[in-house]
């Protein structure tokens, strides 16, 4: 089967529209970044704290906000995990401005306070009575609690209970003791646990805290990675192409980065390390599309000597169209699967890849060749565009 049988799309006809479209997005993006909302740096770069918490009982987002307001913790960014109802949230705060050396661990303290504020009073009083929180203890602790009363295979019972808690069924929180019974834990053990433990109201599933110093280092490293990768690609372009093609490829690449950042500035997403990784991958990906098309252009310049340059470009785009669409298609399918099924942790990365694949494909058709066209028109290279 073939999607395009001998396609003859007049891509070049839309070059002004494409320039205008990209121009509007990028300019409004730049305005938004510099004068408006700006880009939100993730805690990787700004320093700060991320806590992912699962609650035993649903905790409405408004109550969560109120709890932070009451504790004078400002307004951390709250993200509810849709698939978990109102039971799981990701909470992010950035580091406050530091005034003294002492504040170096502010991100740590902030993380502790967030957890503290959300811990229910009943948990605290149970802890004060000397009970252990079954939703937060580890195998060692549970073993030492069980040991006096169940000296035989204590370790096994303890790790069975903890493994149960961490299984996909419970996801870190056991709601009540009946669930332990249902899962096949011995009645005697459960009765004993009822006396010595309680089921805490929350469990911290992920915690990331980055100090301001490390944050700025990570920023430097991400910047270095980006700059070096771009330099590497420029060198490759330089080796591979004549000047005109090289310049067009570089402009296309700049277009992709700016376009992606512009889109980001209009979303609520943060720029973090995985996003930078995705952007760089996309740059490589888009460049490779552009190279495939330019290779064709070069071949066709020899084959179609008498044709107008614009026709050559159109023909080349049409000849490579199947490949462009299919490769983008398969890559899109895979990153789409990752976006839909990959879960929260990888979601920013997948999102960036998705918009990146679309932008990369669009730009290699609607930006790279028109740029080449204008270069040819303005500078009229004497030796022609062929190699």
């Amino acid at each position: 089967m073939q999607i395009f049988k001998q396609p003859h799309f007049k891509f070049m006809k839309y070059k002004y529209i494409a320039f205008a479209f990209s121009g509007i997005i990028i300019i409004s993006g730049i305005i938004n970044i510099t004068k408006g909302k700006g880009l939100t740096g993730g805690i990787d770069f700004t320093g700060g704290t991320l806590v992912q918490i699962r609650f035993k009982n649903p905790y409405p987002i408004a109550d969560l906000r109120q709890a932070f307001r009451d504790a004078e913790l400002g307004s951390p960014r709250l993200q509810r995990l849709e698939e978990e109802g109102e039971r799981e949230y990701i909470i992010r705060t950035t580091s406050p401005e530091l005034e003294t050396e002492q504040d170096q661990e502010a991100h740590e303290i902030m993380g502790n306070r967030i957890v503290d504020v959300l811990t229910k009073g009943e948990d605290r009083s149970a802890l004060a009575r000397g009970l252990a929180d079954l939703n937060n203890i580890d195998t060692d602790e549970l073993t030492s609690i069980l040991l006096p009363s169940f000296p035989e295979n204590t370790q096994e019972i303890a790790s069975m209970i903890i493994n149960l808690r961490e299984s996909d069924d419970f996801k870190g929180i056991i709601e009540n003791y009946d669930q332990l019974l249902e899962a096949g834990i011995d009645q005697k053990v459960v009765d004993f646990l009822k006396e010595k433990t309680f089921m805490g109201s929350l469990s911290v599933k992920r915690r990331e805290s980055v100090g301001p110093q490390v944050g700025s280092e990570l920023k430097t490293r991400a910047t270095q990675a980006t700059i070096w990768a771009l330099i590497g690609m420029l060198i490759y372009i330089g080796l591979r192409f004549k000047f005109a093609y090289g310049v067009s490829a570089i402009l296309t690449l700049a277009h992709d980065v700016l376009f992606t950042l512009s889109i980001f500035s209009f979303t609520n997403r943060e720029i973090n390390l995985p996003v930078i990784a995705a952007v760089l991958t996309i740059v490589g990906y888009s460049l490779n599309d552009t190279i495939v098309i330019f290779d064709r252009v070069r071949d066709n310049i020899k084959a179609m000597r008498k044709h107008h340059f614009e026709d050559i470009l159109n023909t080349s785009l049409n000849q490579t169209l199947s490949r462009t669409v299919i490769t983008s298609g398969t890559t899109f399918l895979t990153v789409f699967a990752l976006f839909v099924f990959g879960g929260e942790v990888i979601n920013d990365f997948a999102f960036t890849m998705i918009i990146g694949v679309i932008i990369g494909t669009y730009s290699s058709i609607y930006q790279s060749c028109p740029l080449l066209f204008f270069w040819n028109k303005i500078f009229k290279p004497k030796k022609g565009m062929g190699k």
Binding site: Q2, R165, G172, L273, T281, T334, L338
Partner: protein, 516 residues
């Protein structure tokens, strides 16, 4: 079969066998990153100035003793900074003797005399040595504590030659507990209590006219262990945590959790004499500058004793563990923490793998639908590619852990690796439609597409290499799988795919149609 085809087939079979051998069983051979296995990644900074300051304090004490012993006059030895102090108001006639004393016994120190003041500062070489030593000691202490915890495969590394220590602990279930254990300085001291408890410092010092006597200091009771309040305690500690040879969790006479300690012989003698001299006086146990317990000395204590307090079993266990492992030479601060609970790690594995399977199915369906039988060829190449990634990950083991972004890298490879096949197949189609026969279409399809495939892969690999160079843990995982996958696609999509065409088409030489 042609001879060179046979060798190619054997090569491919060897690659398949090797990949399976290296990756099987995947649970053992492929190491998971902390984001999938669950665990914590900590970056600590050792505040080396602390160690310098402690050293300076000790040297001041030593100097004062020496000065007294030699009957040299001075008013006070004052600390001027973390590694500087001055001897004030010396007798100018004794300047020579003081110089000799400093030259002989305080070789790490520079000094200069102005009038009746001697300014003493630690030599830069000694400063560097002490800082370096304190980081090494901290690393060792943390290693001891982690070893005591009995965690599997911990790594504790110093970052270059700086002040940072990176701690990676897979499979941690309760990060807060571990963080406390690692961070506690655990400087344990026994000191006499000379006043208190009082609700605030003023009440405490009322009888003393608001002045703290020079050989005493004010400390707070640890709110978690005592009633709180302020105490006046002696500055000297006859025994400290350094003198311990063992500590373990036990119970006191009321069956409450407590920590039992044993001192070394020399400290035992010191403690015996000290307790004998101070019978019926209150003694405090101080941990990191906070009073844990105050008890009256009722008996002479030799080398054994008990620390009471309102401990839970676990807290007593952890305190004993920390005391066994020894104190940190300086305070440490957490610069970075990333901890992932086991349930989230499992969740990520499940989601990562299911998106991988779904992506694979989508691509397979598409390729077979679009390229018919040749699509199967691409699928075979793709499958081998994934196998090779797994094999190399298995071979690299701990050096290339599989992370969630790493799985994303494999997923991306699935999408991108078929690109090479697509380039070839599209070329073959073009050649076929220009009227060439199947054989020459295949041959020129592969040869004409090769340059483009190379180009396409180079650009992606350039990005991945710099990501690897500058990235941290999970991102490196992404770079690794992407580099392996893309490189392997050169072999699978070009070499193996061509071989499959050669094998399937060779038997029907006159075949005119290709299912593509």
């Amino acid at each position: 079969m042609k001879k060179n085809l046979r060798w190619k087939v054997i090569l491919v079979l060897i690659v398949i066998g090797l990949a399976i051998f290296l990756a099987y069983p995947p649970g053992e051979k492929i190491h998971l990153g902390l984001d999938l296995e669950g665990g914590m990644h900590l970056v600590l900074e050792v505040i080396t100035e602390d160690a310098l300051s402690i050293e300076t304090d000790q040297e001041i004490l030593r100097l004062e003793e020496e000065l007294k012993k030699k009957k040299l006059e001075y008013k006070i030895v004052a600390k001027e900074g973390i590694s500087r102090f001055s001897i004030q108001e010396i007798n100018p006639a004794q300047e020579r003797e003081i110089s000799d004393l400093l030259d002989d016994n305080f070789r790490d120190w520079n000094y200069s005399v102005t009038g009746s003041t001697v300014s003493v500062s630690l030599k830069p070489a000694a400063v560097n040595y002490l800082k370096d030593l304190s980081v090494k000691q901290a690393q060792e202490t943390i290693q001891n504590r982690v070893d005591e915890l009995g965690l599997a495969e911990p790594t504790i590394q110093r970052q270059g030659t700086g002040n940072r220590i990176i701690v990676e602990l897979p499979g941690v279930e309760n990060p807060d507990r571990i963080k406390n254990i690692i961070k506690t300085t655990a400087l344990l001291e026994w000191r006499l209590v000379l006043g208190g408890p009082a609700p605030d410092q003023e009440t405490l010092l009322r009888d003393l006219g608001g002045e703290i006597p020079p050989d005493q200091e004010v400390l707070k009771g640890d709110p978690e262990r005592t009633e709180g309040g302020y105490y006046l305690v002696s500055k000297v500690a006859p025994v400290t945590g350094q003198d311990l040879i063992n500590a373990r969790r036990s119970v006191d006479e009321w069956n409450n959790p407590a920590v039992l300690f044993t001192l070394n012989a020399e400290a035992g003698r010191r403690f015996y004499k000290f307790t004998s001299d101070n019978l019926n006086k209150p003694l405090s146990i101080i941990l990191d500058g906070k009073i844990q317990e105050v008890a009256t000395i009722r008996d002479r204590i030799p080398d054994r004793g008990v620390i009471h307090g309102t401990f839970t079993v676990e807290q007593a266990e952890d305190l004993a563990l920390i005391l066994r492992a020894g104190p940190l030479p300086a305070t440490v601060k957490y610069l970075e923490e990333r901890s992932i609970g086991p349930s989230l790690g499992k969740d990520s594995i499940r989601k990562g793998l299911s998106s991988m399977v779904i992506a694979l199915i989508l691509v397979i369906v598409f390729m077979v639908f679009y390229y018919r039988l040749s699509g199967f060829n691409a699928v075979a190449a793709l499958t081998l590619n994934i196998l090779i990634i797994m094999g190399i990950l298995g071979y690299l083991g701990e050096n290339a852990v599989l992370t969630l972004p790493g799985i994303a890298g494999i997923i991306l490879t699935i999408g991108m690796a078929v690109d090479a096949n697509v380039l070839v197949f599209e070329r073959i189609r073009e050649e076929l439609s220009s009227g060439k026969n199947v054989w020459s279409s295949i041959a020129s399809g592969f040869s004409r597409a090769f340059r483009t495939i190379l180009d396409a892969n180079v650009t992606t690999i350039i990005a991945a290499i710099f990501l690897f160079q500058f990235g941290t843990g999970p991102i490196r995982g992404f770079a690794v799988t992407l580099i392996i996958g893309i490189t392997a696609s050169m072999f699978t999509a070009v070499f193996v795919s061509r071989l499959i065409f050669d094998l399937t088409q060779s038997r029907k030489k006159k075949r005119e149609k290709l299912s593509i």
